[in-house]
Symmetry: C2
Subunit: 468 residues, 2 copies
């Protein structure tokens, strides 16, 4: 009972609130363990010299805040809150609050997509008008199960040199939907899935929602640890492996061609499928990195290829596509229909024309020039101001760095996030990327796409101070 | 073994094909039951006086066509094909083939949405341009978790007279997505769901994909059979009830206010939630039908209200919204994020402006005038040409009729579909709307939105002839 010692002298705050706060702290600090029975109402009331009702109210409040559960006839039990779950909420609420206010007051390293300042809205407006003049209401009415034929043809021609048939392309509303509909088509309760550790939280959520058994394999420079990968395969029937082949989110690492081939071989031997989320391979700054997707190396129809146009292009456009093995073509297409029938028809037509008229190519080439400089600048700042406090690899492309706080620095990334936020700097703690969130407490992600050089330097300096 | 008697005398057709066909007929006619063991290869070969190899080939062919499964070491077993599953495929392939060719050669009664000829594309083009001039790239980049604030405010104001808070509105990519994300948030494997019999096939697919236990309650004039409804509630813990309150798809029936109140009471007593898919209530032609959604009558926060703009407005725009009970607000919002992050931002802004500038109201009022006439005309034709062959109720609104082929007419709706298709008339067989498809073999749906008066008369006459 000693740990319940508490001063009830605070003025004006009701006693039950003080007691609630105290118990919450004890639970957060693990001084009361998850599932531990809390003292009886009468017992604690006597011990603290308060009315029974005060304890009843405190326990009710704990319950309503998710810190306790009541079991009828048996008492009240402590419930440890899932830090990540709460933190995820805290994180998204912070971003929401800030983005609806004045984001420009902040140095925002949480961005995952290019800055819209680089986008020529005039050109896009023209293609939309061209589409509406050309197709009339059709552009807003017509729905094709696979997506707009013209866009599928452009994709086949421009991105796959016609090596992929346009009928094998399925238009989806962004990569997140691609992952969702593929999961619905392939994964049932208790099916097993391998993911990279860490990985994109949006994919993790989908697999959890399908109630899959999730195995993590550590991401290394060059790709996942293949030995550990195969160990899992030997013991478990795996349905699929979710991977980001270039500038993996969050580690920034890319697969070597050799590792891709190894995994494709394993897929054939152990009969599983590779879900390749190719989300940012357009932005390669390091000339030594060659672009070869899993899909392009796939000889046995083992790859479900997902490409988002939202990530690299315009998040609000919500368009992506996927290419499926023949085996799953029908079921994935049905899954798309059951998910939202089809993707916005006008946006598909506009994107098609944008690609056909060469704007896409120019835009990507501009982005490469702009972001290469910014990437190099960020790398320089990180070395200069954080060199002794964090470890990181240089991805050679993409829009972010993933940093490991050195053991000697006694601050975890959730705290760093909170402290930095108070200094108007926003980062993404690593905890969001792990099945077991606490695995990510030593890591954070720093995207440089939404800032500029001045802000990058300033933001990195702030982080440096906070880690002292 | 007697049922396997068969004439193998057909010339030129290989014997194993004849045997395969015969066994398929037996399985389809239920003379061989689902799961029944087929005769041993040797046994049947002796009985029919053919080589073993002939039977092996026949069984292989049955397997490849899904009419049999082989269990190793135990023989071959009959497998009854799911008629609907195959028919669903046939149906969608027919529509796909035709729509990519010359739909104008057909009299199309399968339409579920208004004719785009009634839509003023010029006005919509103007609002898109206004949005792009006003918001620039922002219109294509910015993503709000709940959807574009302006649109949510318009919805609150124009459709709910501010009785619903704009923060309680979640924008989704059409009603199908609404059903999907609600299911993901609420329904887990083996949770129980009540649906109307018959119901919208897209909803049925979603609930099946969530592996829910599905209970059907017959739809009657005025709403579902409440007695049977309550019987199910007494025996089973029901999570939710999916309903279309107006011009139910496919029956065309609407709920009386009294029945809605009864079901809301049951929801409170038996602790379940009502998913209200309000898909076409804008089109009420019968002045006696009053518009009161479940949501508007809901006093206990029991209704998840889903509204599609795609159905009544423009299918290709892929926008709808939902209003959730507070209890599920967070989980449904997360489910949306995990499904596709957000809905196309530009389309949301354009629709917002379209509503704000009054175009929406005008458009709906035009549709009502146009379709009321067409509805009355269709009703007249049905009475004139099919009066003795089918029974139907007049919905008093919406875009279709649901017809029951009388017992004296010896044609089922799948055959009618096939025969009509050969006469260039397209209908939707009832089998698509039932959990057990064969329950719908006496029914078909006739939408009149995509045709004109001449075609309606001609099409109905053709159907009349085919049912003779």
């Amino acid at each position: 009972m000693n740990k319940y010692f508490i001063s009830l002298l605070e003025e004006e705050t009701p006693k039950y609130i003080i007691i609630t706060r105290h118990i919450k702290k004890l639970i957060d600090a693990n001084k009361i363990e998850d599932g531990e029975r809390l003292p009886s109402i009468r017992g604690l009331a006597e011990f603290l010299d308060v009315n029974n009702v005060t304890i009843v109210n405190a326990y009710k409040k704990l319950q309503s805040e998710g810190y306790a559960v009541q079991k009828i006839g048996s008492g009240t039990y402590a419930k440890r809150k899932d830090i990540s779950k709460n933190f995820k909420k805290e994180y998204s609420e912070v971003l929401k609050k800030i983005s609806s206010k004045a984001l420009y007051e902040y140095i925002d390293f949480t961005g995952e997509t290019p800055n819209n300042a680089f986008f020529d809205i005039g050109a896009f407006k023209n293609v939309i008008n061209e589409v509406l003049d050309r197709d009339g209401a059709e552009a807003l009415v017509y729905q094709e199960a696979l997506g707009y034929e013209g866009l599928r043809e452009s994709i086949s021609e421009v991105f796959w040199a016609n090596k992929v048939n346009s009928d094998d392309v399925l238009i989806v509303s962004g990569a997140q939907q691609g992952i969702d509909i593929v999961s619905k088509a392939l994964i049932n309760t208790n099916d097993s899935v391998i993911i990279e550790r860490p990985t994109y939280s949006g994919a993790l959520s989908v697999f959890k929602s399908r109630r899959a058994d999730i195995f993590e394999v550590p991401m290394e420079s060059g790709g996942v640890d293949v030995e550990r990968f195969e160990k899992i395969l030997k013991k478990n029937k795996i349905k699929c492996f979710y991977t980001m082949s270039y500038f993996q989110n969050p580690t920034g690492m890319s697969y070597t061609t050799e590792k891709k081939k190894q995994i494709l071989r394993l897929a054939q031997i152990y009969d599983f499928y590779i879900i390749e989320d190719d989300y940012l391979s357009e932005l390669i700054y390091d000339k030594d990195i060659e672009y070869r997707s899993f899909k392009s190396l796939d000889e046995n129809d083992r790859v479900i290829y997902i490409k988002s146009f939202s990530k690299i292009f315009l998040p609000g456009i919500r368009i992506g596509y996927l290419i499926s093995p023949i085996k799953f073509k029908d079921s994935i297409q049905n899954s798309k229909i059951n998910t939202d029938i089809s993707t916005s028809s006008l946006m598909q037509r506009a994107l098609d024309l944008y690609i056909k008229q060469g704007f896409w190519k120019d835009y990507i080439s501009n982005l490469n020039n702009l972001y290469k400089d910014r990437y190099l600048f960020t790398e320089k700042c990180l070395k200069e101001f954080l060199g002794k406090k964090v470890d990181f690899i240089s991805p050679g492309g993409g829009l972010h760095f993933y940093l490991k706080i050195r053991d000697c620095i006694k601050v975890d990334s959730i705290n760093l996030f909170r402290m930095a936020k108070n200094r108007n700097v926003l980062i993404t703690p690593g905890t969001l990327f792990y099945k077991n969130p606490s695995d990510g407490r030593q890591y954070f992600k720093m995207g440089f796409s939404k800032t500029n050089e001045n802000n990058i330097r300033e933001g990195v300096e702030v982080l440096g101070h906070l880690m002292e």
